[in-house]
């Protein structure tokens, strides 16, 4: 019947292909060359709206017109939300109307694609512009920072107390400007999905201690008591330590801003009551609070508190937005609770590091005869006894990359960075192998590192050793979970032993 409707059209204006099943239609769309689809929602291998979804997913740029029954207009409307350009009701299609509907749909789709493209270009331009401007701002700021610190450090002669005081104000503002530039860059990256995270096995308590120490001066200057309050023996999290500090700095800095003299700011960490896999970090203040209708909106980009008289200078309104991005990207959630004049509590969650989860593929490997698991320990040290943080981070990165290549099979795991143990840096690999296999691995690691002298040339040393884990008995009645827990506990104990013995050697 449809063919008939096109018969009045001049030859060559439309070329019709008719298929009976959704699977055939999808195959045809995937091949390309189709300009428009007339899609029946009642195909034998399709299922209502899902038909539209699947066709649209496979060729989002090809316009779809849905064919539907008389009593199904509501469904057709939904189909348009799923990406259909138009709908036609079967039995009510007029001869002339059909080609017109097709032409309109094709044209609409083309206009939409064009608009999308323009929007993408505009976003890209804005991102590039912001990124460029921010970098350019950093150069003059660097020069100001250099010379202010040259004066402050007495490199150009002694300073009178008043001169020192003024230069310190200048330096504080330089640092503020620097952090604003970093915020701008972070926001640009967040929007283009390019925020880089380097998650590892790390301590949230350490981050809290760092931030409380860093901002203690600012709190004291305002007569505010800044305290850390942590549960004992908190588990490590799997997150980016620099980003945790960044989030806490924003939250504590805000808390200090909005709390009057004599107030208290507390930073807490505890395990989550509702979810044992999460750790909760909290920043609570005794400040002016937030009205309840704003507790969601404050995380929006460019949000500014309406009454900032107490807070002093306005910022860019990006801090909390960036926090939300950073928390979400690490698998957590952030929220605020408050009532006006009763202070505010900002909380966010981070995933607790789970050794069982990481090693499950290695330990629970099916059909593995003897359950031999070996812990390979690689230690990066320095002949000079001291490594700067930047140099250390870079060598660790290189060593990790090389170790990754030494893994025996897909099941072996190189554990995430486990935190520093004195001047040395430890890497752990959980490997499914017996003692002969572990000898082979050691040999392979040595060969790989020897072939790459440049990796370790800067006065660094690498030592490697293996510990095989005792046979862990698995009773027939026991579940895989229990077995995994046992193995994890053993590996964990060995690793802790290794780390604490290194710390003892290094006198920390």
């Amino acid at each position: 019947m449809l063919r008939e409707m096109f018969s009045n059209e001049s030859t060559g204006s439309f070329e019709l292909t008719h298929v009976l099943r959704l699977s055939e239609a999808l195959a045809l769309l995937e091949k390309g060359g189709t300009d428009i689809v007339l899609l029946d929602m009642g195909l034998p291998d399709g299922h209502g709206l899902d038909t539209v979804r699947r066709a649209h997913a496979i060729a989002p740029e090809v316009p779809l017109i849905v064919l539907t029954g008389l009593d199904d207009e509501a469904l057709a409307a939904q189909a348009m939300k799923e990406g259909a350009q138009d709908y036609l009701i079967k039995g009510e299609i007029e001869n002339r109307a059909l080609p017109r509907a097709l032409r309109h749909s094709i044209e609409r789709q083309r206009m939409q694609s064009e608009t999308d493209l323009i929007r993408t270009h505009q976003m890209q331009f804005k991102d590039e512009f912001l990124s460029h401007v921010s970098h350019e701002l950093r150069s003059p700021l660097t020069a100001i920072h250099q010379f202010v610190t040259i004066l402050l450090d007495g490199l150009a002669g002694a300073l009178a107390p008043e001169q020192r005081q003024y230069l310190e104000i200048a330096l504080r503002n330089v640092k503020q400007l620097d952090s604003m530039i970093n915020d701008l860059l972070d926001v640009t990256r967040a929007q283009s999905g390019k925020l880089i995270m380097e998650p590892q096995y790390t301590s949230a308590s350490d981050a809290i201690v760092y931030v409380v120490n860093t901002l203690q001066g600012a709190a004291k200057a305002k007569g505010i008591s800044l305290e850390a309050d942590m549960e004992h023996g908190l588990p490590a999290v799997y997150a980016d330590p620099t980003r945790i500090r960044q989030i806490l700095v924003v939250l504590v800095d805000n808390a200090i801003k909005f709390t009057p003299t004599g107030g208290v700011v507390r930073v807490k960490a505890r395990t989550c009551d509702d979810d044992p896999d999460l750790l909760v970090l909290e920043v609570a203040d005794s400040g002016c609070g937030i009205s309840p209708d704003l507790t969601e909106r404050i995380f929006e980009r460019l949000f500014q508190a309406p009454d900032l008289a107490l807070a002093g200078r306005k910022g860019l309104g990006l801090g909390l937005y960036i926090c939300k991005e950073l928390v979400t990207l690490q698998g957590g959630r952030i929220w605020a609770k408050s009532a006006p004049k009763q202070g505010a509590v900002f909380s966010f969650t981070l995933p607790i590091f789970s050794l069982p989860k990481v090693i499950a593929p290695a330990v629970l490997q099916k059909g593995r005869g003897g359950r031999c698991i070996t812990l390979v320990i690689a230690e990066l040290g320095s002949r000079t006894g001291w490594l700067s943080d930047a140099v250390r981070a870079e060598y660790c990165h290189r060593v990790r990359e090389l170790l990754q290549r030494c893994l025996h099979s897909d099941l072996d795991v190189l554990l995430p960075k486990m935190g520093a143990a004195g001047a040395a840096e430890l890497f752990f690999m959980v490997v499914v192998t017996d003692s002969t296999g572990s000898e082979a691995i050691l040999k392979r690691i040595r060969e790989l590192f020897n072939g790459r002298e440049e990796t370790l040339q800067e006065g660094l040393t690498l030592s490697i050793s293996c510990r095989s884990i005792e046979e862990i008995e698995r009773r027939a009645s026991e579940s895989a979970d229990i077995y995994l827990e046992k193995a994890s506990a053993q590996i964990q104990a060995m690793m802790s032993g290794e780390i604490s013995s290194r710390m003892a050697i290094n006198g920390r």
């Binding site: 950093r138 660097t142 020069a143 920072h145 250099q146 880089i196 000079t384 700067s388 140099v391 990165h397």
Partner: protein, 131 residues
């Protein structure tokens, strides 16, 4: 570290002067180049013990300069420290792969700057000594 010479490659004269004051106060000698092209020439002529370089340079990118220096028969052993306004997270890996020893982001913390230089010089010297 007295007497060690450091080549600074940066096209911003103010930043160069700031580095000069800071480094000379700590007992280093300094020399300069303002673009990627003259960077290699300056390194050949001055024979520095260490090179501090920026990434955004005229006449070729800083990465190119690192590669040129690292593949040079005699200059290849000189440790390179990148000090750039470009984001460390996005560029550190590439700089290190090209052969740089460390990557610092501007504005640089002075204590860290001096520590990284000292570290690189100590390591360089200890490697150069016969075992």
């Amino acid at each position: 570290m007295g007497g060690k010479k450091i080549l600074i490659v940066d096209d911003d004269p103010d930043i160069c002067q700031g580095m000069r004051v800071r480094l000379e106060y700590s007992g280093y000698a300094t020399c300069f180049a303002a673009d990627a092209l003259s960077g290699v020439a300056a390194a050949s002529k001055e024979e520095p013990d260490l090179i501090v370089l920026d990434l955004g340079l005229p006449a070729g990118d800083g990465f190119l300069l690192i590669e040129r220096l690292k593949t040079h028969p005699t200059l290849g052993v000189i440790p390179i420290i990148v000090v750039s306004a470009r984001d460390a997270r996005a560029n550190r890996e590439r700089a290190i792969k090209a052969g740089a020893t460390a990557y610092l982001q501007k504005p640089v913390d002075n204590a860290e700057f001096l520590a990284v230089i000292r570290q690189a010089l100590v390591a360089f010297t200890s490697v150069s000594l016969p075992e």
